[in-house]
């Protein structure tokens, strides 16, 4: 059975931009291993000639005219901003 290693947990957490505590790393290593073992069941089926489904409806692209429409005001856009600086979202330096 696939068990996910501590390094893999840390790698995935880094990819997903999650900073985990030591306790979380241990707990998730256990739980993610159980979940991966359960979902690996999909590999039991013979799917050689089966196409993938990304979307349950057989719909065509939905086109729209490329025309300007009314949109939110800047004050509305920034209403929930943690840190507004003029008309920018301010964040710590990269």
């Amino acid at each position: 059975m696939t068990r996910i290693t501590r390094d893999e947990v840390l790698h995935v957490a880094r990819l997903a931009r999650l900073e985990l505590s030591e306790d979380e790393v241990a707990k998730f290593q256990e739980q993610l291993s159980d979940i991966l073992a359960a979902v690996s069941k999909v590999s039991e089926l013979d799917l050689a000639d089966v196409p993938p489904t990304a979307h349950p409806l057989a719909i065509e692209n939905a086109w729209a005219e490329d025309e300007p429409r009314p949109c939110l005001s800047l004050d509305e856009v920034f209403a929930n901003a943690p840190d507004r600086y003029d008309d920018y979202f301010r964040v710590p330096p990269a």
């Binding site: 931009r17 979940i35 999909v42």
Partner: protein, 467 residues
């Protein structure tokens, strides 16, 4: 005196039209019920003031954006978020005179089947306060069954409307994928998410579905929807019901659940339907595994937007990356973290084909199995949940056991099919739900069948302890 435990939305509309009650009296009746019983049910995360419009109050799951009203998705990361626009379903509801009564509790980001995963504490089942109301839409379910709202909106990715409806004993519809706009709804898994009605009976569910459904230019996955017919027939003549044997035989279905569902199927036959056993050989066996790859994969992408930059929680950090990682660690609870990591893993280089790619092919298998059955049957019937409501906290440390709550609701979600729960009896004093699944866009056929069965079953939707 308005009996909020029994009054349907259709009856409320009649009272308003005949001017027997005012909108203010109606709103106040629900506010009183909320004041009395929400302390024990915790169905609501936010209760609204009377907007002063003569309309029918509507409870709204807290993943649906409401202008000027907090919308948290049950998460600390959105605790302070107040939308600056309404979701399309709210625009549609307001256009038909409905008023937002409050925002209902949910598992964080609609991830769960018990509301144990809400960052703000679980809701309680109105039939037994020690038990879960189901999830993720347990708040809407507890509100409707507990008489705190005439009806509610839910959202359903793998069973979050149908399963709580089963555990609380009322009607919930997950509509066909693409019939209801998700614009303004907090995204979880976009190829699966659907908004739908939670109601005291089938006619109310049909009425609310007619109000919220239809094509929306702001959600390019929506399509034109056939006109909704409010059901009134009380027979099932000519209806062909298929009963997938795997959905009744799957491990973990409680005997009391099977008994109540079988009684309902016997009633269906007596109303003129033909009932025949059929098979979904791989959909039930592989559905949960397929779902718990595809939904987390999509969730890992959708939840990438919570970065502390534009809205929601922000934690301090020396640089941008540290700020983002600390914000997400502090803001997300365990279940979103688990799903983000599973999804990230399933999409990562070297594993994509084995996990996500394979799951997408299994999804095709599931869809084809259902398509084949609908050549012979009008609807499929099964239990909605393998069990009645379980104790709060019973499954929180075992994610895989929690995921199995959705084993019977997931397959049809993967295929984009409409499904409806009606209560069909009691087991151990708790409601049992019957699930009716139809082909895509067959909501009217499902409403007709469910309405006739509902009349014949005569289930009393008011929890025994509140009668």
């Amino acid at each position: 005196m308005i009996d909020t435990l029994r009054l349907t939305a259709e009856e409320a509309r009649g009272l308003l039209e005949r001017r027997e009650v005012s909108g203010a009296e109606l709103f106040a009746a629900y506010r009183t019920a909320i004041d009395e019983r929400d302390p024990e049910l915790h169905a609501f995360l936010h209760v609204c003031d009377d907007p002063g419009i003569d309309g029918i109050p509507l409870a709204v799951k807290d993943v649906i954006g409401t202008k000027g009203i907090p919308t948290t998705a049950g998460s600390k990361i959105l605790e302070s978020y107040v939308p600056v626009y309404d979701a399309t379903v709210i625009v549609n509801a307001k256009a038909r005179g409905l008023t937002v009564l409050g925002k209902t509790n949910t598992d964080e980001f609609a991830m769960g089947s018990s509301t144990d995963n809400s960052a703000f504490g679980p809701s309680h089942n109105p039939w037994d306060l020690t038990r879960v109301p189901g999830g993720s839409g347990g708040g809407s379910a507890a509100a409707v069954s507990g008489g705190l709202a005439p009806w509610a909106l839910g959202s359903d990715t793998g069973g979050s409307i149908k399963q709580p409806a089963a555990l609380c004993g009322h009607v919930g519809l997950r509509p066909t994928y693409g019939t209801v706009s998700r614009y303004g709804v907090v995204a979880f898994a976009s190829s699966l998410d659907q908004v739908g009605p939670v109601a005291k009976n089938v006619r109310d569910a049909a009425l609310l579905y007619s109000i919220i459904s239809g094509r929306d230019e702001n959600d390019s996955t929506t399509v034109d929807v056939p006109p909704v017919e409010l059901p009134d027939a009380d027979d099932l003549k000519g209806l062909r019901i298929g009963v997938p044997k795997e959905m009744n035989g799957v491990e973990g279905v409680e005997p009391g659940v099977t008994a109540a569902v079988n009684s309902a199927l016997e009633l269906a036959e007596s109303l003129g339907a033909s009932v025949e056993e059929c098979s979904l050989p791989r959909s039930v066996d592989y559905g949960v595994a397929c779902y718990y790859l595809i939904a987390p994969a999509e969730a890992s992408a959708n939840l990438a937007r919570y970065d502390g930059a534009r809205y929601g929680l922000r934690e301090d950090g020396a640089d941008f990356r540290e700020m983002v990682m600390r914000t997400r660690d502090a803001g997300f609870g365990d279940e979103p973290k688990r799903r983000i990591m599973i999804g990230t893993y399933a999409l990562s280089s070297g594993y994509y084909d084995a996990y996500y790619g394979t799951a997408q092919k299994v999804r095709t298998v599931i869809k084809r199995e259902h398509d084949q059955l609908f050549e012979r049957f009008d609807v499929l019937a099964s239990p909605t949940s393998p069990t009645v409501a379980f104790p709060i906290g019973a499954k929180v440390d075992d994610p895989v056991a929690m995921y199995m709550n959705d084993v019977l609701t997931i397959p049809s979600c993967m295929a984009g099919l409409p499904g409806l729960n009606i209560p069909c009896g009691l087991s151990e004093g708790l409601p049992v739900g019957l699930q009716l699944i139809g082909p895509q866009f067959a909501e009217n056929a499902i409403f007709r069948a469910a309405h006739a069965l509902e009349q014949a079953i005569g289930f009393d939707i008011v929890p025994e302890r509140l009668r």
